[in-house]
Each structure stands twice: as C-alpha cells, then as structure tokens.
Amino acid sequence: MRVLVAMSGGVDSSVAAALLVGQGHEVVGATLKLWGGESDSGCCSVADVEDARRVAQQLGIDHHVFNLTEDFDRHVVTPYVGEHAVGRTPNPCIECNRTMKFDRLLHRSERLGFDRLATGHHARVAQIPGGPHSLRRGVDDAKDQSYVLSMLGQSELARVFFPVGEITKNEVRAHARRLGLRTATKPDSQDVCFIGSAEGRQGFLAGRLDLHAGDVVDAAGNPAGTVEAVELVTVGQRRGMGHGGDGKRRYVTHVDVTARRVTVGGADAVARSSVFLPGDSVTWVDGSLTGAAVRAVAQVSAHGRPIPCTVDADDERGGLAIRFETAQRPVAPGQTVALYDADDPDAVIGAGVAA
C-alpha cells in the first residue's frame, strides 16, 4: 500500500516508518511544522525535522515538511488559551490528534493518493474480517497511547496504521539500533510541543492571557490563602493548597474564574462519583450507546489508572453520565475521559470531554 508516515523526529515514528518499509509498503515520510515559535520539547523543532528527514534518507524514502502552523494555531493553540481563560483544563495533544493529525493530515494523505496514514503512536487497530475496526491499547502498557487516540471513529480507523503498537518500547529502541537510525537513543519528547521547559505553562499563558490572582476560601467561605493565577488552578488540584485547620490536605473543589475565587475542601469534599460528558463532545469507536447502562472502564488522563464505571445516557442534560465504582478526584472540565470495554479492557469504545 502507499503509506504516508507522520514522522516527528522521535524514535517511535522512525521505527514505524522502518517497519512499514520492511513490510514492503510504498512509504513516504512527512513531518508537520505546527509551531513557529521556540521549542525545546523534543518535538517539532528544526532539529527534530532534520532528524526525521535523516531517518527517511536512511530508510530510502521521500520526506516532506508540511507547514500547518496556521491551522495548528487556530485549532490547538488558540483554543488552549481560550479554555484556560474560562477555567477549563484542555489537553492540546488530544486536540492536535483530533483536528490536525487525524483530520487535516489524514485528508491530505487521501488527496495525495495514499492508502493509509501511519503514526508512531503506541496503540493498535484491529478489524474483524467484514466487521468494524477496533482501537486497542498498545502492547506496552507503560507506553500505551490509546487515551490520546480515543476520539477516533470508523472512518479514521479504517485508514490508519499504528505499527509500533504491536511491540514494546524496548523492542522499538532495539529495532532502531539494529537499523542504525539516528534517533535510536533520542529521549522521548515530554510535555506540550509548543511550551518551552523554561517558560512552562504559566509563562506561556501569561504572555497570551491576563492571569488574575485569586482568593482561596473554604466551604464556609472563610479565607484560606491566595493563588497567583486563578486560570491555572484545576479542580481536584492538591498542589499549593496546603492543609486545613484539621491538619488534613486540602483540595480544590471549585474554581470561579470570574469571581477570582478558588474553593477548597478535604479529600471527602473533593471526591466525585460521576462526571458528565456533553453530547457534542462524545465520540464512539463504533455505533453508539443505546438502552440500558453499560459497564465500562474509564481512563481520565494519559497514563491514568483505569477506573471501573457505568456509562448511561443523560437525556436531561444531553450527554453521557459516567458513574465511577469508587469515588475519584474530580475530572477537570476540559479533560478527556476515554472509555474501554469492561469485558475487553484493552478495547476503546469511545470518549468524551468533561463538562
């Protein structure tokens, strides 16, 4: 098949390309230029593009660089800033997958006559012959990235390959070393590609958003401290909230950005047994939820613990009510909840974004 491989300059996408070449596919590599500013995250800098290009040369495949900075700014960076302004905690990597890699780039690959788009994500796509495509966790549990791909549906899954999801990270590096790829020992990229390690999230947002100091109060409304930037406080957050009069840790139970007020409480006050996912944020790998409540497993962060739950339609509010078997720290508004099959916990069934 003709396969376009998205090559970030990292070892995973390098080996993804190598595996596809080894399988006899007609492979072309492409690196996306998404961020025009400084980057030391290990993804998307000029040095990373050069690494990707060099690996492509070593594999004997063509390589292109696509400038998608405008779309990236519109679909990922601007919403990232905007969400923080209203006290939500977005996941830009998920938005990038949703709008850039598996939309913009996927459509481009189709227009250019490619049969498949491949990435270096640790996940697996499977298909029952004649049946729907499924999205599964990668074999390496510690590196599984199905969470950030949980928004994909049949039309995307039918056209993607995730070659390294079938092997462990150690095997990925071993393969890269065997092939003598330049990126074999390159460290994995950390954090968000457009936020530098020096400035951090606060530094990045401070340059684009008015950050406001806020008051911290307890459930009764008594003053309990201050925060530097109320827009950066996440519901459920423990960091920086200190201890209550009873000596117990305090957690953020509520953030009111407009009123510049953060409310804190003890562990029991912050425990939540459910989360609501508005209908327009919900996607299904295949089909949709009908009838009675479905047992599932939820994952609420990139490498979070899977949480047994039930998924129910909330017709009143128009969306899904996810009820956790055991109470959890709140899922911050804006965070993705990925849902897995209770009987086949490696299989993603759908996803939504916490209200």
Partner: protein
Amino acid sequence: MNGPITYLDHAATTALRPEVAEAMASVHERALGNPTGSHPPAQRARALLEDARDEVAAFLGRDPGEIVFTSGGTEAANLAVLGPAEAALRTRGEAVVLVSAVEHPAVRESAKAAGQMGVDVRELPVDRAGLIDLDALDRTLSSRCTVVAVMTANNETGVIQPLADVVASVRRRAPAASVFTDAVQAAPFVDLAGVAAGVDMVGLSAHKFGGPVGTGALAVSSRVTLSPRLYGGGQERERRSGTPDVASAVGMAAALQLVTKDRAAASIRVSELRDRLAEGLLAVVPWAHRTVPAGVPVLPGHLHLCLAGVDREELLVALGGEGICVSGGSSCASGALEPSHVLAAMGVDRGLAVGALRFSLGYDTTDEDVDRAIAVVPGVAAALRRTV
C-alpha cells in the same frame, strides 16, 4: 526518485555546466597554491583568481578592483547591507537602510539584523505588480540614507525592477547613499553591465547560472565604505577575509562567459518556451491565475501562477511524484514552505497565495519539458482542487 525528470526550477538552482566542471577540474591539474603566497604555485593561483575576477568585472561592466569574491549570493547580500550600515554607525553614529518589500530573505534578514544593531530600517512598498513604488521611495529618501536595496529581478515572480529610476531617485534625494541590487536571479538573462551600470553594489550567485554552489561575488563601487563581515587575513582588499576559492572563482567565470555568449538567443528561446507553457496551462486550467499582471517586465524563464482551491504543498508533492520539478516559494529553516512575503506585499489574496506555483525555465529547457508539463500539471492540479 527514479522516473524521468522535468526540471523547471532553475530559479532555485541550475546544473553545473560541463564546461564549468572542466574548467574547475583543470585548476587542480597542476600545483595550486594559496593566492597570497609568493612561490610558483601561489603565483599560479593568484593569476587564475585575477583572470576570473577580470571575467566577472567584464560581465558587470565594472573595474576588477570592485569585485569581491564571496561564498554566494547570501554572503554578498549580507555584506552589501550590513557592511555600509556598520561603517556608518561607527563613523556617523547612525545609519538608515531602505529595503524593498519583495527582497530575498538574504537581504530582508540582513536588514532585520541591522535593525537589531540600531540601524533605522524602512521598508519600501511595491504595487500590485510587485514593482517598487517610486513615489514612496522618493518620499522616504533623505540625506541620512546609507543603503537602498532593490533587487534587479524577483526570485519568486521574476518581476524586473526599474533600477535606473531607483538610482536616479537616490542620486537626487540621497546623494551619500549606496544602491545595492541583488542580481542573483537576473544574472542569467539580464545585461547587468547596462541595467546595473549606475548601481553601487551588485550581488551574484554562481549556481544560478551554471556555476558551482558556494561561490558568488559582490561588486562594490569605490565610493562605498563598508565594514567587512569576515575578519582574518585581509583578502579581497580587506573586504572579505579567507583564502579565496580559486577553483570556484574559475568556475564562476567560465559560467559567466557562457552566459554572455548565449544570452540574447537564450532569452528569446526561453521566453518563447515559457509563453508556450503559460498558454498551454492557462487554456486547460481556467482557475489558474497569472500572479503578475500582463505588461509587467518579467525574466524570460519565470512563470508564476496562483491556482485557486489548491494547496501548493500538496501540489508540489504530487508533481514531484511525476518528476515535475517546480517551486512553491521560500522555505524556512525546517524546509517547510513559508507564506510568501512577496505575494503579501503585492496584495495577493491569502487564499489564492496558498496555491502559488513558480515555474522557472533555463537555458537548457526543451520543448519536451514544456510538453510534459502541459500534459501532466493540469490533471494533477485538478485532482487536488478543493472547490469548497
């Protein structure tokens, strides 16, 4: 990477001409010393270098003493903009640099760097055709101006600037200023000896006219005071230190001889091929637009189109797959295409600019090349077109 190649990207680079390769190889057939030495091989190197210098000077209609060999067009541009600016800052405490809005990044970025050094940098607007606005130039010029940079012809559109008018204006309004013209793109086809006669500094790049990459020249009139960018042994009369690349200079000179010999005939031949290509494409691709309005002087080999509804990145990948080699514009450090500041300065609609495509023909372009492009490009473009 294997099929037949239809090369229509001469503005990016040209193939090393066989005569040039021969001339360069012959330089190493006997001992070649460092031109600054005194023994026979050094004398030989010096003689070869000076012969090459004479050739470049003759090509530009200038005195050999004005020719500074550089590592290419980019270095020439850096020297031309920053050299006089730095000298002025040092001696007068101020410098003013005017650059047209459509200059090559080598000039543009040099000007930006000058700005960081405290130089007053102003941009000279162009009109819808990409031609310098002579009224705006007149209004902006003052006795404080140090350098005025206007390229001879644009690398993206091929548009040829009214250099004589620019020079006349500068002499009138800013008699102390130096005019620099980046002639990199124009060199294969424009008689620079005539067209750039009154200009103070002229930049050349060998690989645009069949010479080797990594070598060029800056002609600098004796009235210009400039600080060098490279310090060291004081070569090129203190203007550009570093052991001169004799073989490359010889190569460049050989290439220039060939250009001069064939220029008139090549210009006619190439422009006819270009016109046939234009007609052929525009006849079957009604949603392709000539970027440069009719009647505007353009280099013989350039054809710049904007294809509505097509993304040039996709078009380049698809055309490359068919062996059709063209360009979409300037690239950034990572190799990704950047939005064109040239098209923006011309007021070209952003949506249209996304479909920018530059064909640039050269002295060795054939009828077969044009036939192939006409046969392949329309279908490829149509398949990628998004009508929504």
